[in-house]
């Protein structure tokens, strides 16, 4: 049985539907990402699960218990906010101890638990620092520690890394995932960053306009986008209009092709395994670190092709005439409707 069950959850503000008829299940210890663009309803959905917003209809079950109308303070849900929401009047120790003090635990127990969690998030020595004296990454670790120390049933993370610089973000996402796995903590993570969602999650729920358009493992979501939104939001898919898909691949719908799934060569003697071959000319070359992105102009449209920046591979230059090779399995037909998985 699933640990968290969300059933037919709907929420609107002043006739504006934020999310509609949301259903999903999460297993104990799973790390789930709600991924989507700004305004798609992912944060409101998270806050509704936390009880910070009342829902219009539907239910949320945790470990078989219906918590839809349970008081926020009795849900035992930990949450990390994008703004950190740390208490500036308290130092690191007291911020983390806040929830434990409300539980009226003894001073000894509180001290032991707080110091343990401070060590876990690598903040030893910062116990007496006030919040304003910490960096963004340290603040977010305090927020994480504060949410974890009360041993919540579920951990909710509302874009906790979006205010941090790239280096700290990479370090923290690894730390969060490690801690989550160590504690076997059921976690729901809200983000608009597909890379973050891919790296951290067991499963991704892709949201658009208040609906979950696709759910699955990161690899599943990445390789099999169900519609144009999913294909454009995840990765840098080439989207082919219906008329071109029909003309070149005999598919009567829009199609998506991953840039790295196309093989470039000068002649077909270089490629042995392919289903379709088209002719084109390199119109632009971009070096993206470990990837070289070629923009190839065909008769009717352009395609991006990504190749590994490997010194032993053949390089192409602007205006080179090339052949593009495709395999049928890499040409992904797209559904036009949402809520179809």
């Amino acid at each position: 049985m699933s640990y968290v069950q969300v059933r037919n959850l709907s929420k609107s503000f002043d006739n504006n539907q934020i999310f509609n008829n949301i259903n999903f299940d999460i297993h104990k210890g799973e790390f789930i990402s709600l991924l989507g663009p700004s305004g798609c309803g992912k944060s409101t959905l998270l806050r509704s699960i936390a009880g910070l917003h009342n829902v219009d209809s539907g239910n949320v079950y945790v470990d078989g218990e219906d918590i839809t109308y349970k008081d926020v303070q009795k849900r035992n849900i930990g949450m990390v906010f994008q703004s950190y929401a740390l208490f500036p009047n308290l130092n690191v120790f007291d911020n983390i101890a806040f929830g434990l003090k409300l539980k009226k635990l003894s001073k000894e127990v509180i001290r032991k638990k707080v110091l343990q969690i401070i060590e876990l998030v690598d903040l030893t020595g910062k116990e007496n620092y006030y919040i304003d004296a910490l960096s963004g990454g340290q603040k977010q670790r305090v927020a994480l520690a504060r949410a974890l120390v009360v041993e919540p049933n579920i951990l909710l993370l509302d874009e906790p890394l979006s205010a941090l610089d790239a280096k700290i973000r990479k370090k923290l996402r690894t730390m969060i995932r490690q801690i989550q796995q160590e504690l076997n903590l059921t976690t729901i993570f809200v983000t608009h960053d597909q890379e973050e969602a891919m790296i951290m999650s067991d499963r991704i729920f892709l949201m658009d306009k208040g609906n979950i358009v696709q759910q699955g493992s990161p690899i599943d979501i990445y390789t099999n986008p169900v519609n144009k939104f999913a294909a454009t939001f995840i990765g840098n898919y080439n989207i082919l209009k219906k008329k071109f898909s029909l003309k070149y691949f005999n598919l009567n719908c829009q199609t998506a092709i991953r840039p790295e799934a196309i093989t470039l060569a000068i002649s077909n003697t270089d490629v042995i395994d392919y289903d379709y071959c088209l002719n084109g000319r390199i119109s632009n070359v971009q070096l993206l670190g470990n990837i070289i992105r070629y923009n190839v102009k065909l008769d009717d449209f352009s395609l991006n092709v990504d190749e590994l920046n490997d010194i032993n591979r053949m390089r192409f230059f602007k205006q080179d005439a090339v052949k593009l090779y495709f395999k049928t399995k890499d040409i992904q037909p797209l559904k036009d409707t949402i809520n179809e998985f």
């Binding site: 806050r47 009795k74 949450m79 906010f81 703004s83 009047n89 929830g99 004296a133």
Partner: protein
């Protein structure tokens, strides 16, 4: 070089303006210590007589105490009523802040003479006979300090993410009320203190309402000062300087607390 010239030029202007502003206070201070100061540049002599007379006058201490009672009473009423309203509006109904912004202008818009006459008319015929008592003054003073309390606290709140702080506290097991007490109030302490000191400074110096609404029936510090205007210029100067000293003390305390808070937040605690 040009930078130094500009620097001196700016300093000269600032110190000249400060001197001009301080001159009347300095003159009053010297006058309050002088035995006689008539046609000469400097006084004939110096004395503590006026201060001894002032501090020895029971009426002065009574008036001071009355001023303190009505000021603190009005302030307590203001804080108790306004802080919850502002916090709730800020947290649950931000649209109300728009209306509150207009409402707080009313005490400034209506001249004290007009509103005091209105108040006298209302309460002289009312079943609630509070004309001439401290109660009417406390009520009136409450309205005067609304803008100061409101502005200080909303300014302080603008630096705090009330919503997230309260939500975070609730998720950790606190009730909304407890979250306000434990998390929000300590973080707007500076705003509350600012409101307290500004309000007390204004109320201790208030004369028009006190004179018209209660007069000598409940003699406050400013009404006492007014009644002593014909006694001796030296005596009233001593009174004014004493009043200034209190206000100055309040300002120093407020400034010290503000600086202490800022220092604490920028350093680690020990």
């Amino acid at each position: 070089m040009l930078k130094n010239v500009n620097h001196y030029y700016h300093k000269t202007i600032i110190y000249t303006v400060l001197m001009l502003m301080a001159l009347p206070i300095l003159a009053t201070l010297v006058y309050s210590f002088s035995t006689k100061w008539g046609a000469t540049i400097l006084p004939d002599g110096f004395t503590f007589k006026w201060y001894i007379d002032l501090f020895g006058d029971f009426r002065f201490w009574s008036a001071f105490l009355r001023s303190a009672i009505v000021s603190v009473g009005a302030l307590a009423l203001g804080l108790v009523l306004l802080i919850p309203i502002i916090l709730l509006a800020c947290h649950s109904a931000p649209i109300l802040l728009k209306y509150l912004n207009y409402i707080i202008l009313i005490p400034f818009a209506i001249p004290p003479v007009v509103s005091s006459v209105g108040l006298l008319q209302i309460y002289s015929d009312s079943a609630l006979n509070i004309s001439g008592t401290a109660y009417i003054l406390i009520g009136t003073y409450f309205t005067i300090i609304i803008p100061f309390i409101y502005r200080s606290i909303t300014n302080s709140l603008s630096a705090v993410n009330v919503h997230d702080l309260v939500d975070a506290a609730r998720l950790l097991g606190s009730s909304t009320f407890k979250a306000f007490i434990l998390v929000v109030l300590p973080n707007i302490k500076k705003g509350i203190l600012t409101a307290v000191f500004i309000s007390l400074s204004v109320l201790l110096g208030e004369f028009v309402f006190a004179n018209i609404l209660v007069g000598t029936q409940y003699e406050t510090l400013q009404v006492y000062l007014y009644s002593k205007r014909v006694a001796s210029g030296h005596f009233t100067s001593a009174l004014v300087i004493t009043y200034f000293a209190f206000i100055f003390l309040f300002t120093v305390i407020a400034s010290y607390i503000g600086t202490k808070n800022e220092l604490r937040s920028s350093k680690k605690s020990v």
